[in-house]
């Protein structure tokens, strides 16, 4: 940091009027570039929110409007989308409950499985260590679509298709490799000397994991858990394959995609559904963003 500051002051001293004019141009270009990216990134989210608080008539009357007048503002879209089907709503409250349940249990199971696993990979020299590691990387990179058919057949035979249990199993399996990857990277930064001190003091390996490593890794564990939550909450393909016949078990993602194909539900109501689906993820993301980005790119800066 100080080195960078020094360099800048050196450059400042050397730059004549010509250079500073050029640098102002570059600075202006950069500001415009950032503004353009911000606009492109945020426009869809703003549009989502905008349409969710408008009556459909107002949208059709003036489709180009990027603002909402006070008299048009409505929350009835949210009432309709969240309300139970029996009351004329779309039942998203049930879908929200399903999504939350599936995502939360997936987080708990994935962490329970991945924490000891990541510790073993980071610290313990067991037989087949490298092969296991390679298997997990491959499993992490393997797209779901390739294993979707056999899982579909298997779950049909087991009678688990249509149940949330099957979905939780798939989500756990899909997130465990990436959870292991993130946690292992963090465990490896915990100094071995601290753990050895614990060994000398008579703690067992499991005691070390529980008393030393886990407490030290809390931020990373929280970030990993939230990452798993996001994957499970956002997932679409398996929800589509497994749950499509059982409306009561639909997740929010599946519900939104199914209803957006029909003409009976108005776009603004579905936009309210989109907001309901997106908002929890955005809030969670801003809470853990710092830890999350560090964990995901660990190792990338090696170049």
């Amino acid at each position: 940091m100080t080195a960078a500051l020094n360099l800048r002051s050196v450059r400042g001293r050397r730059s004549g009027p010509k250079r500073s004019a050029r640098q102002r141009m570059i600075g202006l270009g950069r500001a415009l570039g950032i503004a353009a990216f911000m606009f492109a990134v945020l426009l869809p989210f703003y549009y989502m929110f905008l349409l969710s608080v408008k009556p459909i008539a107002s949208l059709l009357r003036d489709p180009g409007s990027l603002f909402i007048s006070i008299e048009d503002f409505t929350l009835s879209t949210y009432v309709e989308v969240l309300g139970p089907v029996s009351g004329g709503g779309q039942g998203f409250l049930t879908f929200l409950g399903n999504s939350a349940l599936v995502a939360l249990i997936s987080v708990i199971v994935a962490l329970a499985v991945a924490l000891p696993g990541a510790y073993a990979i980071a610290r313990l020299p067991f037989f087949g260590h490298r092969q296991v590691n390679a298997l997990f990387i491959a499993a992490y990179l393997f797209p779901a679509i390739v294993v979707a058919i056999p899982l579909f057949v298997l779950f049909t035979r087991l009678g688990l298709r249509g149940s949330l249990v099957g979905l939780i199993f798939v989500y756990t399996a899909q997130t465990v490799p990436v959870a292991i990857y993130m946690l292992r990277n963090y465990f490896e930064t915990v100094p071995v000397s601290i753990e050895e001190a614990g060994l000398v003091d008579g703690l067992s390996r499991l005691g070390i994991l529980r008393r030393i490593t886990l407490p030290l890794s809390m931020p990373s564990i929280a970030a990993t858990g939230l990452f798993v939550f996001m994957i499970a909450w956002n997932e679409f393909l398996f929800a589509l394959l497994f749950l499509i016949d059982k409306r009561d078990n639909w997740t929010v993602s599946l519900g939104l995609s199914q209803l957006s194909g029909s003409v009976e539900v108005s776009t603004t109501v579905l936009m309210a559904g989109s907001v309901v689906l997106t908002l929890p993820i955005i809030v969670l993301f801003f809470v853990v963003e710092r830890y999350l980005t560090g964990g995901l790119t660990a190792g990338a800066e090696k170049g």
């Binding site: 050196v10 067991f126 056999p150 292991i180």
Partner: protein, 318 residues
């Protein structure tokens, strides 16, 4: 006591190894049960006749046949879907990495609000896919979408463009008619928007670890901004860009959600994964769908091998 120490140390290492296996085994079991076994089973099904209606009583020991592969490869659908997939993948990967590099260069220098800007740039990547595709579809809607409204009112388009349902349009460029695959380009644009944050993250991490001194020296010596990017920054980014290219190719090649949710695979966007889904749910032919997925898996394993090779090369250098 002395002879005991060596003994105890060995047993500690052994105990560690055994504990390691115990701790890893739940993960290993799950990954084997949900990835490895299904993959093998998929290979088996691809050599058997299996209709969707029969899967409740599917028999793993049914006789083997090559009919599925004949059907998938012989029909020509595979090749057309694969060529669409390749165009889609190359376009999406190139676009998302280019945008990611530009975005990372833009926010490289500290400024007020930088943390917030960087976090905001990641939103397209973390937001639920169903929600963002729905918003894009609405924005691009020919009747009341904001983009067509803007194009007609401000840019002077004579009629709305059906971005997601038009397979190809004729662009009249200096008298030459150039066919443009509208829907395919639109889903590629969506991919660029959705996935540039992933490249952005990796490139940003690399830029932060990079020494600025060579660039500062070049600037003092009168090199332009673009020159210093081209000759100093870009070569240092090359390894991370290569890594990104292969990672994104692996994921985009088998991508299902984005296209399914945007176009449903219509209008010239029938990629291989959508083709597989159609075989499964419309033609109800589980065997043929499996054959298609096995072909995809083989291509994927080839790409993974390249990826692991790159990783190993990087490891040796580090």
């Amino acid at each position: 006591m002395r002879p005991h120490t060596a003994n105890r140390r060995r047993t500690l290492a052994q105990r560690d190894a055994r504990l390691g296996l115990t701790l890893i085994s739940p993960t290993l079991l799950i990954v084997i049960a949900a990835v490895v076994v299904p993959l093998l089973w998929s290979v088996l099904i691809s050599f058997q006749r299996l209709k969707l209606i029969e899967i409740g009583v599917a028999n793993p020991f049914a006789p083997l046949t090559l009919a599925n592969f004949n059907r998938v490869i012989g029909s020509g659908i595979l090749w057309s879907s694969l060529s669409t997939t390749v165009v889609y993948t190359v376009g999406s990967v190139a676009l998302s990495i280019t945008l990611g590099v530009i975005a990372a260069m833009l926010v490289r220098k500290p400024f007020r609000g930088r943390t917030l800007v960087r976090a905001t740039f990641l939103l397209p990547y973390v937001a639920p896919i169903v929600a963002v595709t729905f918003v894009w579809r609405t924005m691009l809607n020919p009747q009341f979408g904001i983009i067509n409204e803007f194009g007609q009112k401000v840019l002077g388009w004579s009629e709305p463009i059906p971005f997601l349902s038009q397979a190809s349009a004729d662009w009249n460029l200096l008298g030459a008619h150039i066919p443009v695959p509208t829907a395919l380009l639109t889903v590629i644009a969506f991919e660029g928007w959705r996935n540039f944050p992933f490249a952005f993250l990796f490139v940003m991490a690399r830029l932060e670890a990079m020494s600025r001194e060579p660039e500062e020296a070049a600037l003092v010596d009168g090199a332009g901004y673009l020159q210093s990017f081209r000759y100093i920054v870009l070569p240092q980014l090359a390894p991370v860009i290569a890594l990104l290219a292969i990672l994104r190719t692996i994921w985009t090649f088998n991508d299902f959600d984005n296209i399914f949710l945007l176009t449903g695979g219509g209008a010239g966007t029938q990629v291989a994964s959508i083709q597989m889904y159609t075989l499964l749910t419309v033609q109800r032919n589980v065997g043929a769908a499996s054959a298609q997925s096995v072909i995809l898996a083989i291509l994927l394993i080839l790409m993974l091998a390249i990826y692991l090779l790159i990783l190993r090369r990087r490891g040796e250098k580090a």
